[in-house]
Symmetry: C2
Subunit: 238 residues, 2 copies
């Protein structure tokens, strides 16, 4: 039996202030929870229907009880609470991504998944970027949150202190397909509506642009997750 | 004043059966509605707050009335009904995309936007692909639905009749970064969970794979819209 206080705790974790207060985040479904367990995340609590098996101690719940806890339209087998990982900000090395004000949880989750695919270990987020530990983001990562380190930091400090090249996609940048791209560096991606903020833009050493192939004089844009994918693909294919 | 029957009509258009019956689809916001008008779509009706100007005759509504019609969390200035464009299936030429069972409206909308960016005029959809005229898809295209032709057809017939190369991204395909890619062809993208269906897979003449750069033996996948973007980028950059 679920207690009222358990349901209340889980539901509160939708909000960042409660995640910070409790030091916990929510993950759901066998894929996401399984990936976190495999990566060494130790669960604070596991609520699981009898079908779910993982070797960890779980509180067995019915599907109806799981629905009471879940943030998903179609809850699946398990919901787990994990402690938020400790906040440490590694120095940039290899290839990494910096997000400057990305707002949409789905975009953030997709970008974490892209980083995982392209073997990028760390994503640096400005403080005004969406919170990676929100349930919507965790689910959108499809488990990649277990393998990619996401840290919140002042990007202007990070980028002014690094010796690595800083790449940014900008409307007036140089054709990405024709540029030399190094194996190390930081790729900065900006906010959905406004792009990279003024102070961060000043710290971009290599301005890139993904050229459009549409006809006519339309001023269209690519979704930030799509632009991130194309940019990462260009860096990695070479 | 909005009439009850107007509100009912708009709300019904969320469902395909009513879109088919009425021959109408819904578009919202100055960007999407504006792009459709610019592309020559003639509105059946326009409901607009006084801020919206477009040269077309509109029924002026208050923001509260607009909210009653809208499918968006934050309705903006205008909601329009347009006649569904006539169903004609052009023969493939140049580069086009074929979607085999893409289910998520957000993915479909994003793919239409990607096609627009990369100058791809036509998307062929299998009959079990999500409906492009659903409000969620229209909004996710950010106006690109005005410029990209989306047609529903039997892909096995289309692909078996074409003389163009048929490209498909498959788990056991050849590294896309190292393949010759022609300027003409059809790029097939599959369902979110199951990929390209068996009968369509047999018609793929060039099997491609986007290599992953992550370490370890994870069997991860890319979101279908992300994979479409990377594939289109590879075709166009050459």
């Amino acid at each position: 039996m679920l207690s009222r206080s358990q349901i209340k705790l889980v539901k509160q974790l939708e909000l960042k202030k409660y995640r910070s207060r409790e030091g916990l985040f929510v993950a759901e479904g066998p894929k996401v929870v399984g990936d976190l367990l495999k990566s060494g995340f130790l669960p604070h609590s596991l609520f699981a229907t009898p079908e779910f098996r993982c070797g960890e101690e779980a509180q067995t719940v019915s599907h109806d009880e799981l629905c009471k806890l879940s943030f998903l339209q179609h809850p699946q087998q398990v919901l787990a609470l994990f402690p938020l990982p400790p906040v440490t900000c590694p120095s940039p090395s290899g290839l990494s991504i910096a997000l400057d004000g990305v707002q949409d949880p789905g975009n953030l989750g997709t970008i974490i998944r892209i980083a995982d695919w392209f073997g990028i270990d760390t994503i640096y987020c400005s403080h005004n970027t969406a919170d990676a530990w929100a349930p919507k983001v965790i689910q959108a990562t499809m488990g990649s949150i277990a393998r990619v380190k996401v840290v919140y930091t002042d990007l202007t400090v990070l980028l002014s202190e690094t010796a690595l090249p800083v790449y940014g996609t900008l409307l007036d940048g140089d054709d990405i397909y024709r540029q030399q791209l190094s194996r190390e560096g930081i790729i900065v991606m900006g906010n959905e509506g406004n792009g990279i903020s003024e102070p961060v833009r000043h710290l971009v050493s290599h301005r890139l642009q993904i050229p459009s192939f549409h006809r006519g004089d339309r001023a269209e844009s690519l979704n930030v997750a799509i632009a991130t994918a194309i940019t990462c693909s260009e860096f990695r294919r070479r």
